[in-house]
């Protein structure tokens, strides 16, 4: 490893301010810090610092996303072979490899576009490359339908990184979750490519078998005839956005986030609680509306509910920052997601909008919690007086 260190140390003078390759400074710095934790030591305050940094934090989130990513790749292949009627003759590796090749370009496009912009902004602003996009870059492909054209992935990523993150000041400053905004951007800008029955299953130029519909279980439920294959929905062998179909894989990710303490278990639990509450409420008014009568837990295994609750709602930057606020925030996400899903026929998936809406209100929730703390302190003075 010495030679890599030597390389970075030797090249450092060339990217300093005023040197010939200063425009590569952020790239040099980004790569150097990726390979080596720097030798900077504490200058003021505490002499010791925890080993955790933002790279490790983001690394763990990426790790937690891997099961969903792998299941998404497998499912992409699975849906393909099922649609063209060759499932019985395809081997496990054939299925996975098909999905792998289809999903990989999404990830590459998202990382190249997103990180490219990050590098440019870091260079312009003169700060270090921030790690936030490591997670966003993998979240974005996972919430896209498999047939989304790559140029759309590129545009939405660029939109999200520039207008949702960088204009606010970069990682830690954004109001909305960048990955979700990328999805919302496409959803409203190119509705026909983002919904309907033809976007979820990659046919790869082959002809689908007779009777193939390609509709997601959610679309069918919204159309009034819910027909949920519980086991396949849980495992993730249903049509849907790339990474959000497998509730099992998402739960593995949730376990990683909760055990390491990186994701807030309070938000995850309260989101599911909110979803359950709304599901139960709708049940009581269901009448002969079959979607409203759907048992609440079946909502959790279809669509993006679980994925959103575990990986999107828990974003510490765009969510609430106070501990009490997290309960309220999560609960309302759950309630709104199911409400939009079931009651509003224009939007088949409520999770995305519910989280973006609550991102918007998170500072308000926090404001009241903070005011509460202030009032308590002021009351202490009054009691004294």
């Amino acid at each position: 490893m010495k030679f890599i260190q030597k390389f970075f140390e030797d090249t450092k003078p060339y990217v300093q301010k005023g040197a010939k390759y200063h425009w590569l400074h952020s790239v040099h710095d980004g790569m150097f810090t990726l390979f080596f934790v720097q030798k900077n030591t504490s200058k003021s305050g505490s002499h010791i610092h925890d080993f955790i940094d933002l790279k490790r934090t983001m690394g763990i989130v990426v790790l937690a996303l891997i099961p969903a990513l792998l299941m998404g790749m497998y499912n992409t292949g699975y849906q393909h072979f099922a649609a063209v009627g060759e499932l019985a003759s395809a081997s496990f590796w054939q299925i996975f490899f098909y999905g792998f090749l289809r999903v990989l370009p999404f990830i590459m496009v998202s990382y190249i576009v997103g990180l490219g912009i990050e590098f440019v902004f870091a260079q312009l602003r003169g700060h270090e490359i921030q790690e936030g996009f490591l997670v966003s870059g993998i979240l974005i492909p996972l919430i896209m339908p498999i047939n989304t054209p790559l140029w759309m992935v590129a545009i939405s990523t660029a939109f999200a990184v520039v207008f949702v993150k960088e204009v606010f000041g970069g990682t830690g400053m954004n109001i909305w979750n960048p990955a979700l905004v990328a999805r919302a951007f496409l959803f409203f800008a190119y509705p026909s490519q983002m919904s309907g029955d033809s976007v979820w299953v990659s046919l790869g130029g082959q002809k689908a078998i007779d009777g193939f519909s390609g509709a997601t279980p959610m679309a069918e439920a919204a159309a009034g005839h819910p027909n949920i294959d519980i086991w396949n929905s849980f495992i993730g062998l249903i049509p849907g956005s790339i990474g959000e179909t497998s509730t099992l894989a998402i739960l593995i990710g949730a376990a990683i986030l909760v055990i390491t303490g990186i994701g807030s278990w309070k938000i995850i639990v309260s989101t599911f609680a909110g979803g359950a509450a709304m599901g139960l409420l709708l049940n009581t008014f269901a009448g002969n509306n079959l979607y409203m009568a759907l048992p609440f837990w079946e909502h959790f295994i279809i669509g993006g509910f679980a994925f959103g609750a575990v990986f999107m709602a828990t974003d510490p930057v765009s969510g609430t920052q106070t501990e009490k606020g997290k309960w309220i925030y999560g609960f309302l996400i759950g309630v709104l997601a199911i409400m939009i899903r079931v009651v509003n026929p224009a939007y088949p998936e409520g999770m995305m909008l519910a989280i973006l809406l609550m991102n918007t209100f998170a500072p308000l929730i926090d404001h009241y919690i903070v005011e509460g703390s202030i009032k308590k302190r002021m009351k202490r003075v009054k009691v004294k007086a």
Binding site: F36, V37, K39, T41, D53, G169, S373
Partner: protein, 450 residues
């Protein structure tokens, strides 16, 4: 009777290098120093010149804004150096000890029979007043004000901190006289904070005080935390704090009529060959203490105080005014290949992201490396876990960064000083300089509101 308060929030950082409970050979300091930088907000005005002979208790400098507060020589000898930093700011006044430790004589007295004014005068003249700090701000107490209460924490919960029961063994009568003296200066009470292990120790036997027990991890021993639990500071209120070491010095003054600044300290840290306790002098030169005591395996960081709140000092520098501990840890100015991706079996962490979490008993060598780059606030809920007070640390820090005085006040800046949020700085993923920010806020409040 004594209250027991259980503090659930906090963290004990398990470092290697705890001091063994024995005294090493006592070290006669050849040089001692007074460092004005130990006192936030102090502008010193010198009263001595280089070359001047002084006795212990003779004035060296005073506070420009509170001229009655003087700082006196810790031992007898000759003023040999006055070191200045940027803009001629006085960093340290160094006295070469003559080894006789002669003191000016003050009158002996039983503090119980003295009036508050007489006690104040005694403390001010002898230079023991600066041991009394005030809250808010953690600055020098003002003799003209009367505090609501006086708080004394009788244990130090910081990493590798000395055991006060051992440190002050045999000094109970001095502690008691010190308490009698201070009790005259407040209309409220003198509160002592002890931990459950001290229920039958030196401190639990002291009279004329209210004793409260605090159990829990660090920062349970921080006096700020104890104040918050017993009688939180509201706007306009003032409380005083003092360390047991300060009490001992005050007690000695009243009992013997002399200034005797000899004290016990702990020499700790992973780089110290055999960590133990040492008898030395207030403000003593570290060079003599550290000679041959460390392993010299690589670059070392020498800290006067503990790893969370202490001051980085050079080997030839001096013990800080309020410190009873020296810690030596590796500097850690080395690159670490892919450090952020390391499974971390031997990386102690407050988070749950390293495998070291599986070994809850092991102690570790930690260095002064930052272990990551500085970032904006990203994670939430991280700081609260280490602050056993009803305070929202991140919101308070943001108010300070925004110079918003009203908000700082509302969010409780009067109740904290740097040390109370030191653990947040240790645990912070974004490597935010928490203590520096807190000081910045306190300085602003001091400047604006006095």
């Amino acid at each position: 009777m004594s209250k027991v308060i259980n503090l659930k929030r906090g963290l004990n950082i398990r470092l290697k290098g705890d001091a063994e409970k024995v005294f090493g050979t006592s070290i006669e300091a050849d040089k001692v120093a007074l460092k004005p930088t130990d006192f936030p907000g102090l502008i010193p005005k010198l009263l001595v010149k280089t070359g001047q002979e002084v006795k212990a208790g003779e004035p060296i400098f005073f506070d420009k804004y509170n001229p009655e507060i003087i700082f006196t020589a810790p031992t007898s000898g000759q003023v040999v150096e006055i070191n200045r930093g940027e803009r001629r700011k006085i960093l340290e006044v160094i006295i070469k000890a003559d080894g006789r430790n002669e003191s000016i004589s003050f009158s002996k007295a039983d503090p119980k029979s003295l009036s508050p004014e007489e006690i104040k005068e005694h403390l001010l003249k002898s230079g023991l007043w600066p041991f009394i700090k005030q809250r808010p701000y953690g600055s020098l107490a003002k003799p003209s004000q009367a505090p609501k209460h006086i708080f004394i924490s009788c244990f130090d919960s910081a990493p590798l901190a000395p055991d006060y029961e051992f440190l002050f063994n045999g000094q109970a009568s001095f502690l008691q006289s010190g308490i009698h003296a201070l009790a005259k200066l407040t209309s409220g009470k003198v509160h002592l904070g002890i931990n459950p292990a001290q229920a039958t120790g030196i401190f639990s036997g002291l009279k004329n005080v209210e004793i409260n027990q605090f159990s829990g991890a660090h920062p349970a021993g921080n006096v700020g935390v104890q104040i918050h639990q017993i009688s939180p500071i509201n706007k306009g209120e003032i409380v005083w704090t003092i360390t047991p070491q300060g009490l001992v010095f005050i007690g000695k003054l009243f009992e013997t009529g002399k200034i005797d600044f000899s004290k016990n300290i702990a020499l700790t840290g992973s780089e110290v060959t055999s960590p133990k306790y040492i008898k030395t002098l207030h403000g003593a030169n570290l060079e003599k203490i550290l000679k041959g005591a460390t392993q010299k395996a690589g670059n070392e960081r020498i800290i006067s105080g503990n790893v969370l709140t202490g001051t980085k000092v050079a080997e030839d520098n001096f013990l800080g005014f309020f410190d009873s501990q020296i810690t030596v840890i590796p500097e850690g100015d080395k690159y670490e290949f892919m450090g952020w991706a390391n499974p971390g079996f031997n990386k102690f962490t407050a988070s749950k992201t390293f495998f070291s979490k599986l070994f809850p008993k092991k102690s570790y060598v930690l260095d002064a490396n930052l272990h990551g780059g500085e970032r904006a606030f990203v994670l939430s809920g991280q700081y609260e876990k280490y602050v056993p007070m009803d305070i929202l640390p991140v919101y308070l820090l943001k108010a300070i960064l925004a110079n918003d005085i009203d908000k700082m006040e509302q969010l409780g800046i009067y109740e904290i000083v740097e040390e109370d949020l030191a653990l947040c700085e240790y645990a912070c993923t974004s490597k935010i300089k928490v203590q520096e920010i807190v000081r910045q806020g306190l300085d602003l409040m001091m400047k604006e509101l006095g």
